[in-house]
C-alpha cells in the first residue's frame, strides 16, 4: 500500500517534470527539469528490481550526459523560446493528433493483462549477473558499443579540431 503510493508519486513526478521540459520557455529550465525527471525514473527502476540500472541512470545518464548538456547550454547564449502555444496552428494540431493516437489506441486496444509479473530472486538486476551477461552472452554487442564510443570521440575531435594556423 505504501509502496504503491510512493511508486505512483514518483511516476507522477516523472510525467510532470517531462511536461515541464516541453512547456517551459527557458532552455536551461527545460534541461534542469529533465534532470529531475531522470531522478524520478531512476526511482521507478528500483521498483522494478533494476537496481544496477537505477544507479547507472543517475551516474551516467544524469551525471555525465545531462551535465555535458548543461555545460554546452551555458556556452551557447540561447534566447528564450516563444513557448509551445505560439507555434503554428497546423503544427499544434498535428502534435495533438499524434498525442491522441499514441495514447488512445494502445490503452484501449492493448490487453495489459498479457504482461505478467514474474517474481525474481535477489540477484535479479544486480551487477554480477548483468556483467556476466555482457561478457559472456552479449560480448559482440559489448565490443561494438566500445567501437561506437571510439567513433563518437573521433567525430567530436574532428568537428572541433583547430589547427595552429587557423584563426578562432
Amino acid at each position: 500500500m505504501m509502496a504503491q503510493l510512493v511508486f505512483w508519486m514518483f511516476a507522477g513526478m516523472a510525467i510532470l517534470f517531462t511536461l515541464m521540459v516541453v512547456f517551459l520557455k527557458n532552455p536551461l529550465s527545460s534541461a534542469l527539469s529533465l534532470v529531475a525527471s531522470f531522478f524520478c525514473v531512476s526511482a521507478i527502476y528500483v521498483f522494478m528490481h533494476a537496481t544496477f540500472l537505477s544507479v547507472i541512470q543517475i551516474l551516467v545518464y544524469t551525471g555525465a550526459i545531462m551535465v555535458l548538456f548543461l555545460y554546452c547550454l551555458m556556452l551557447l547564449n540561447l534566447q528564450e523560446d516563444q513557448g509551445i502555444m505560439k507555434t503554428h496552428l497546423s503544427r499544434l494540431v498535428f502534435a495533438g493528433l499524434l498525442l491522441f493516437n499514441f495514447i488512445y489506441f494502445p490503452v484501449v486496444y492493448f490487453d495489459f493483462n498479457k504482461i505478467q509479473n514474474q517474481s525474481v530472486n535477489a540477484e535479479f538486476g544486480g551487477m554480477a549477473v548483468i556483467g556476466d551477461m555482457l561478457v559472456k552472452d552479449h560480448v559482440i554487442l559489448f565490443e561494438w558499443l566500445s567501437v561506437l564510443l571510439l567513433l563518437g570521440i573521433m567525430a567530436v575531435v574532428m568537428l572541433t579540431y583547430k589547427n595552429k594556423e587557423q584563426h578562432d
Binding site: 516523472a14 521507478i44 550526459i65 540561447l78 490503452v107 551477461m133 561506437l148 564510443l149 567530436v156
Partner: protein, 100 residues
C-alpha cells in the same frame, strides 16, 4: 502490487510527451532534449518488460541505449556549437533559410 503494465503505461506517456515536444519546439538544444526524453521512455519500457519476463536481456539493451545516447549527445552538442558559430542562431527554422 506494482505491475510492469503500469511501467509500460508510464513509458508510453513519457514517449508521447517527448514526441509532441520534438514536433513543436524550435530550439536545436530543446529538440535534442526531447530526443533524450524519448530514449529514456524506451529505457523504461525495456526495464518493465524485462521484469515481466524475468530475464535480464532488457537490462543489457538499456545499457546499449545509454551508450548510444551518450555518443549522440556528444556529437550533437559539438554540432550545435559549430552551428551557433556559423549561423549565429540555433532556431531550426532560420537555419534552413540562411544561405552563405
Amino acid at each position: 502490487m506494482i505491475e510492469p503494465s503500469n511501467v509500460i503505461l508510464i513509458s508510453l506517456v513519457l514517449f508521447s510527451i517527448g514526441m509532441v515536444g520534438m514536433i513543436t519546439r524550435k530550439d536545436a538544444i530543446t529538440l535534442f532534449l526531447c530526443i533524450e526524453i524519448m530514449l529514456n521512455a524506451a529505457n523504461v519500457a525495456f526495464v518493465g518488460f524485462s521484469k515481466s519476463m524475468g530475464q535480464l536481456e532488457g537490462h543489457v539493451a538499456v545499457i546499449a541505449v545509454i551508450v548510444v545516447a551518450a555518443t549522440e549527445a556528444a556529437v550533437a552538442l559539438s554540432l550545435a556549437i559549430k552551428i551557433q558559430k556559423e549561423f549565429g542562431t540555433l532556431n531550426v527554422m532560420d537555419i534552413s533559410k540562411l544561405r552563405n
